[in-house]
Symmetry: C2
């Protein structure tokens, strides 16, 4: 029979991973985590009532992020994944110090992966106008290696394209062509997808890149985060392999906007109908 | 010398028109009002800190709209123009009864103009997904004439295209082509631009329509509202013609997002640099 300490540790390992985002985009991160760590339970919170965070002040973002984290801690999560770029940029240290569990963010993960594969030392970033203007990816990349050059380009049309599910064909390619132009010209050798919506356009982005002289490699921050998460879980002895069933997903939202399920299914790459979805109030 | 009553009336006529929207899109309405009524002073309020309203509950929208109206009434406005489609759809009667000054909304104005020019009895509406799903234009058009048919199509990509200033060329035309397809197929004879951002794409929309067998006529809700406003001002004896100077514009925002001035100038069709812009707090 295991000791009390071992039992507590086992209970802790069995606890779910908490993931939150300002909206539904973070479900692409959930999708990557489920692919990499199929045994883990996940509780997802999308703060759909207060999306987008990108236009709020840093103080407001920290306050919103803390309320999301508190809601997830009520589900006894063992670790917090910040799928939101805006929160990752401004609130990570605050969350880590306030809640005393490991916190990992999508920007650090993407930056690490981009810096890791860059051969030529010049990295491209595609993100929302807010994330680009914040300089968060530059800071994260320079913290790893100050000699790396970063070229960040805003790609705002990718968000409604992903939400509409209009991800392939001449128009999305034409739009990708425009956004990738400055990155191809700058001869970056890796391109970080720095917004949770962008992985849905990855095929189109790679098609456009394949036409360039030396196609850059695409880094999906969601996949990078899932790989990082595995390491962090191992480091804290929090990884759990179950034999009885595959990992479960529960989804909470603060508001159910119109066409909610369509958009959610698209981001999750699976039917949300198979998972419980509940509305909660954070305010 | 005018009597007290006449003096009070003159003071009231000289008062500014209050215009508000959830963000900066309503500046296209300001632009149309300034073109139609160049003598009138205008106070504009963009609730940029809480944009977008389209995803909020009706109760929240009414609460936000009331706080915007109160802020404008502090500037002693003589009339309220609701440039926001979401507010026009849910909060107009509430505002009119609560504040006791004339209130006119962008949906009613657009619906009236569309119904007025329709010959064949079938009207198209382009709007955001939220406005289309709300059925607000249908209701407004059917209130005027229940026999008119309404075909409403969401055109979400037009918003970031307008904000980026990417309004002409193959890509915007390709996107317009897709959104206009169902309206051309349904043989509508007028198309209402049911979102404050869309007038910026009018040239492209009309170019695509010109290729169809019987091009529908485009109705700009902002222009329709300006025409309506002139009638309402006359009706209430509130219209003012000044000889000393042209009408002034003051702009208030609840937050100054990044690239604020670029976007504002685009919507206003003039430089915001020529007008005072102040941040205010509504909460």
């Amino acid at each position: 029979m295991p000791s009390i300490g071992a039992r507590a540790m086992l209970r802790r390992m069995r606890a779910p991973i908490g993931v939150f985002d300002s909206g539904l985009g973070g479900l692409t991160v959930v999708r990557a985590i489920r692919a990499a760590l199929p045994d883990e339970d996940i509780v997802y919170l999308g703060d759909t009532a207060r999306v987008p965070y990108g236009t709020r002040s840093p103080e407001t973002v920290v306050r919103y992020a803390a309320s999301c984290a508190r809601a997830l801690l009520r589900h006894d999560v063992k670790l917090l994944v910040v799928a939101c770029n805006t929160v990752s940029a401004v609130a990570l240290p605050e969350l880590a110090s306030r809640f005393g569990i490991p916190v990992i963010g999508v920007i650090e993960a993407g930056a690490k992966a981009g810096a890791g594969i860059s051969q030529g030392g010049r990295i491209g970033v595609l993100a929302t106008a807010g994330t680009v203007a914040s300089g968060a990816y530059e800071r994260a990349i320079h913290a790893l290696n100050p000699r790396l050059e970063v070229v960040a380009v805003p790609a705002p049309l990718f968000v409604p394209l992903a939400e509409e599910g209009w991800t392939e064909g001449a128009i999305p390619e034409g739009i990708a062509d425009r956004y990738l132009g400055p990155l191809i010209e700058a001869q970056v050798d890796s391109i970080i997808l720095g917004c949770t919506h962008y992985p849905l356009l990855r095929t189109t982005i790679e098609r456009v890149l394949s036409r360039s002289a030396a196609p850059a490699q695409v880094v999906d921050s969601a996949e990078a985060l899932a790989a990082d998460l595995r390491l962090v879980l191992d480091e804290y002895s929090l990884r759990f392999s179950r034999r009885d069933r595959s990992g479960q997903l529960r989804v909470y939202v603060t508001d159910q906007p119109r066409s909610f399920r369509d958009v959610a299914n698209r981001f999750l790459g699976a039917s949300l109908g198979d998972f419980p979805v509940e509305a909660i109030d954070l305010e």
